[in-house]
């Protein structure tokens, strides 16, 4: 349902995406991993229409909603107002569906979003994106700054959303083990290009992934059998 072909995005003279291509099928969960500066957030912001590509195409058969890096709340507004505004693009003000899926949000609906914990804000960000009834949920750094238990809970919500509603998920994530655990398929982005794609289980063993994250030294270390130490 999402087709990205030879995408180039520039910030002035700096090239952030340099011919990236990617496919996400309907109801599929795909992880997008890569080191800092690889262009992951740029890609997700371009998919959401927040950035204009210099060349290449982004085609999506359905609605896309984004859970942005750093949550990006409307801090002085209530949780419910944050959710309601999430449905702005389709004028959806009915929050009951989101409360059914994320019952914790109903309990905090009158609290100001800016006063919630990081995990609660992430939950609001997911709920706000769901208000747009998306066919594809693009999530930028689900785990950033959150405790492992909170991340595990959010990941379970994503799986449930995918299972029950068939919502496709594109998960941009620094935490590779989480990304590969949640998404059966993954892509590796490095220096603005997708350098590897395939089943997450296979990519977890791939040299490209290790090189993208840890550099050539890590690959050499793997070959001498000491990768475990580096990864840790």
């Amino acid at each position: 349902m999402l087709h990205i072909d030879d995408l180039v995005v520039r910030y002035g003279s700096a090239v952030a995406l340099d011919g990236a291509s990617l496919e996400v099928g309907a109801g599929e969960m795909v992880a997008l991993v890569g080191p800092n500066g690889a262009g992951k957030s740029t890609l997700i912001n371009t998919i959401s229409g927040l950035l204009e590509p210099s060349s290449g195409t982004v085609r999506c058969e359905g609605r896309v909603a984004q859970v942005p890096e750093g949550r990006q709340m409307f801090p002085d507004m209530s949780v419910e107002d944050n959710l309601v505004l999430g449905g702005w693009s389709i004028r959806n003000r009915d929050v009951s569906e989101v409360y059914d899926l994320l019952p914790d949000l109903a309990q905090m609906r009158k609290r100001k979003a800016g006063r919630l914990s990081g995990g609660q804000q992430q939950m609001v960000a997911v709920g706000r994106a769901l208000m747009a009834r998306p066919d594809l949920l693009a999530i930028d750094e689900l785990s950033l700054g959150l405790a492992p238990l909170v991340v595990a809970d959010l990941a379970e919500h994503l799986r449930r959303l995918n299972r029950e509603r068939g919502t496709a998920v594109l998960l941009v994530e620094q935490e590779v083990s989480l990304a590969f655990d949640v998404c059966p398929r993954a892509c590796v982005l490095e220096a603005g290009r997708v350098i590897a794609a395939g089943p997450s289980a296979e990519l977890a063993q791939s040299e490209e992934v290790r090189r993208a994250y840890f550099g050539d030294l890590a690959v050499a270390a793997t070959m001498t059998g000491s990768m475990t130490e580096v990864s840790r």
């Binding site: 927040l50 942005p68 990006q72 409307f74 002085d76 107002d81 505004l85 999430g86 702005w88 693009s89």
Partner: protein
């Protein structure tokens, strides 16, 4: 005592108009980060237009309403000029509003001449604590309170009002959920025009307006807005009323020509006193 009551009521009514002008500045600044210096000129357009419409035999109520809507339209046009082009920096937009203010002054002279104009208002007076108070001044206060209450309800309860608040709070996130932040900015300019026009329509029957009223009105409105930290309509109302009362007492007990100087002095003091909180807001 009687004199003091009369000055206080006159000051509160005058300050209410400043607050309406200031709240327009606040609404625009919150959403676009642009200070709209044409806000005083819009108030003059409101006053002048209501005078023309009422003398053209439009009934009271309708004449004022059309003048307010016309002011809203002027505000919207200024918005299109100031932020219509994507990516215009706030400083350039501010200069455009200054230019628009001068253009409007020229238009006022062309349409209405240079003489001060005062349309008929609510006639008669009532006695409060022994002081005779014009009913128009009470109307100004009442209409201002209603306008601020409506503004509060609009921002807190309506879908569009919430989208405006969201655009002010986090423009990036607002764009992400599909809100057209630039369109919200234009709406803010239009709303500011309505508020400025309302101020002019209410003020003109007791304080005649002319093309050169724009600067004192803009300065007073800006001082009230600064008192509200350029973010809070309620504090802007309090600031405007404080400023109006100070000006009225100055005019009553000292000299009427010092009113603008008092506004400038108060604005300076407020900015010095509040500079720490402004720095903190900037740092955020």
């Amino acid at each position: 005592m009687t004199e003091l009551v009369a000055y206080l009521v006159a000051g509160i009514a005058l300050g209410s108009s400043f607050a309406l002008i200031g709240s327009g500045i606040v609404v625009v600044h919150r959403v676009t980060r642009v200070v709209n210096f044409a806000q005083g000129s819009i108030a003059v357009v409101g006053g002048m237009a209501s005078a023309s419409l009422l003398s053209g035999r439009l009934p009271h109520g309708l004449g004022e309403l059309v003048a307010v809507l016309l002011s809203g339209l002027v505000g919207l046009v200024i918005g299109v000029l100031a932020i219509g082009r994507r990516g215009t920096p706030p400083l350039i937009s501010l200069i455009i509003t200054l230019g628009a203010s001068m253009l409007i002054s020229a238009g006022i002279i062309w349409l209405w001449g240079q003489d001060p104009v005062s349309p008929p208002g609510l006639g008669g007076s009532v006695t409060i604590l022994g002081a005779s108070v014009e009913r128009q001044r009470l109307l100004v206060l009442g209409a201002t309170l209603v306008a601020f209450a409506a503004l509060g309800l609009f921002f807190s309860r309506s879908y569009v009002g919430k989208a405006l608040t969201a655009s002010a709070s986090n423009p990036w996130a607002a764009r992400m959920v599909g809100i057209d932040v630039r369109r919200m900015g234009l709406l803010a300019f239009g709303l500011a025009g309505v508020l400025g026009g309302l101020a002019g329509v209410l003020l003109a029957p007791t304080n005649a307006v002319s093309f050169y009223s724009d600067l004192p009105l803009a300065l007073s409105g800006f001082a009230a807005a600064v008192f509200g930290g350029l973010t809070s309509p309620v504090r802007t109302l309090l600031g405007g009323i404080g400023l109006g009362v100070a000006g009225s007492l100055t005019a009553g007990y000292l000299n009427g020509s010092y009113q603008t100087e008092v506004a400038l002095l108060l604005m300076l003091l407020i900015m010095i006193v509040r500079s720490n909180s402004f720095s903190a807001e900037e740092a955020k």
